[in-house]
Amino acid sequence: MAEITFHGVTKVFAGNVTAVDNLDLHVADGEFMVLVGPSGCGKTTALRMLAGLEEISAGTLSIGGRVVNHVLPKDRDVAMVFQNYALYPHMTVAQNMGFALKIRGESKAEVERKVREAAAILRLGEYLDRRPRALSGGQRQRVAMGRAIVRSPQAFLMDEPLSNLDAQLRVEMRVEIARIQRLLGVATVYVTHDQIEAMTMGDRVAVMRGGQLQQVAPPQVLYDHPANEFVAGFMGSPPMNLVRARTSPSRGGVGLAVGDQRLDVPGAYGASHDLPREEGAEVVLGVRPEDIDVVGSDVSGPTLKTRVERREALGAEILVHLSVADAGAASSVAYDEDVAVSRPTMLVARMAPQARVEVGDVLMVRLNEERLHFFDGTRGVTLRRGGA
């Protein structure tokens, strides 16, 4: 068991694609680190460099204090779980799990004992003599896990191990993998594009975008204090509402123009953010769907007049799509796009199912001023007094 350190690790593929750009990341011994980000952001490449399947273009990578840049995969003592499981089709479950040990020359009895142990942990005992073809998706996934576990490696590397499972099984295995990892206490790097997996499984989560690390933090910190607009929009479902606004300072507080409406952010709080003081500076205002409440028209503070455009009942809650009553000049920001598309400013609010809202209603909503986020209008970084 060991810690893992990426130090300035970079991968440039032929054709000048920089898949991973100067990655600094430290995974503590026993830690469950989730690498998350949209498809193509370099997660798999980072993991494959760690496994030794891909060469490192620059930087150093160490496992347990040993620099492994040029160490062969078999000498790195890491186990990998592949997205498509990559089970050996001509071997039984037991043979699959014991293969690495057999190659290493461990005795038959020893291999068998370790396989049995792992099978017990994974509840695979009765399938040991089956071939992968005769297993369900979830069972195959377990075998892939088992193959990693039996080796008691320094680290587990998992590349989207749940993405081939159906939704229900995914939820089950999410819990299962987290349980096993905690049980064994092996440092784990888990790659996924699914922010729910990231939130629920990781001790810490590293968010990547375009080969670059955006933020590393425990899930709740990411959720509550995203370092930038991208992280804010990526974590959470439905994502954080991101609205373009312009500053209009007044009476010692901060005012924001959202479309042709004015949003008052009470002075004391506004001061704690590093919002530009000048008139008309562009910022992005972020508010999570659960931080929007319907109020009467006489309430002060950050309120907006909106119209209900759509209503999605999800059973336990409803999602209400609101358009900010507006002449149409304002636009919202889509989190995964650099270019904002001009369209009426929309907000998604999460409400209790009892809320009596209908399409067409005009509502006054109040944004939870304790939980507002502000981002630089051009660079997207969080504006917060005291930086970071």
Binding site: E55, G64, R66, V67, H70
Partner: protein
């Protein structure tokens, strides 16, 4: 565990280099075998085609060997025979197509029929040539059939006459190709999406229209492949048949290019000319082969 420096220092072989080296080593025996026994002889053939060569000593003569060869009537006879045999190709494709369509109807026992139809594929063309000889012989099956149908005064001996021997060879060739080509077409038909046919039938298309506009276009790749394989067989696989049925005769009536090479080299001991003929055959099949590569290549 090894020291920290080991992993930090670049080894002689990077990961990629290791993979490439393994790849090159793995490919080496195959490359050597093909190079040594196929590529090198092609080069040698080019060299020897300009020489007087009896297998032991060769004397350089130059391009005149080629002009001489092209003045040799035997070469033209052989090429002509090959050209005439091309007439067999439509039959070697059409009959199997028909048979495959029949099998595709899946009447009872079609699997047994399929096995029976393919069975001759397993037999050596030497044996099929022997059987064909029995069929065309003076006292053979063909004459028995003709007599049975009332043509009692007709007595053929197709292999015995210059005018008919080549036809007999062509007919035998068609028979030998039936199994392989039927197999190809049946595989092609099996990959045909039946819902297409059904949709067409619902739209009121008749059988001919369905065949012409759905089945045939779908089979086109298979037909192309069968065509190429048949033509190549025609140029380079008739040796066994000719060897046992006619020995190239009567006269030169059934001497094709490949048999001419054999005769020139081993009966006349003129290795140089035989090598030259080989090159001509090589060019002929290469033309067809390029078409074949296109077919395979377009899949990747």
């Amino acid at each position: 565990m090894t020291g920290t420096t080991v992993g930090a220092r670049a080894p002689r072989l990077t990961l990629r280099r290791r993979r490439q080296l393994a790849g090159a080593l793995f490919a080496l025996p195959a490359v050597a075998l093909v190079a040594g026994l196929i590529a090198v002889p092609i080069g040698q053939a080019i060299y020897y085609s300009f020489t007087q060569w009896d297998g032991l000593t060769s004397t350089w003569i130059g391009p005149s060997t080629w002009t001489q060869a092209f003045h040799n009537p035997n070469l033209w006879t052989a090429l002509e025979n090959n050209a005439w045999l091309l007439l067999a190709v439509p039959f070697a494709l059409g009959l199997p197509l028909l048979i495959a369509m029949l099998l595709h109807q899946r009447v009872i026992g079609w699997k047994i029929f399929r096995s029976i139809y393919f069975l001759p594929t397993a037999i050596s063309w030497v044996v099929l040539g022997l059987v064909a000889e029995r069929f065309f012989a003076f006292q053979g099956t063909l004459n028995s059939l003709l007599h049975f149908f009332g043509l009692t005064h007709v007595n053929t001996n197709m292999l015995g006459y210059e005018s008919t021997a080549l036809s007999a060879l062509g007919i035998t060739f068609v028979f030998t190709m039936i199994g392989t080509n039927t197999m190809l077409f049946l595989t092609g038909l099996a990959t045909l999406d039946t819902s297409l046919e059904e949709a067409a039938r619902i739209d009121g298309a008749g059988r001919w229209r369905i065949f012409r506009h759905i089945t045939l276009p779908h089979l086109s790749r298979f037909i192309q492949l069968a065509f190429v394989m048949t033509v190549i067989a025609l140029f380079s696989a008739l040796f066994s048949l000719i060897f046992v049925m006619t020995g190239g005769g009567p006269g030169y009536a059934t001497t094709t290019m490949e048999f001419l090479i054999y005769q020139t080299g081993f009966a006349q001991g003129d290795f140089g000319t035989a090598a030259l003929y080989g090159l001509i055959l090589f060019v002929l099949t290469a033309i067809v082969g390029i078409v074949q590569l296109r077919l395979i290549g377009s899949d990747e």
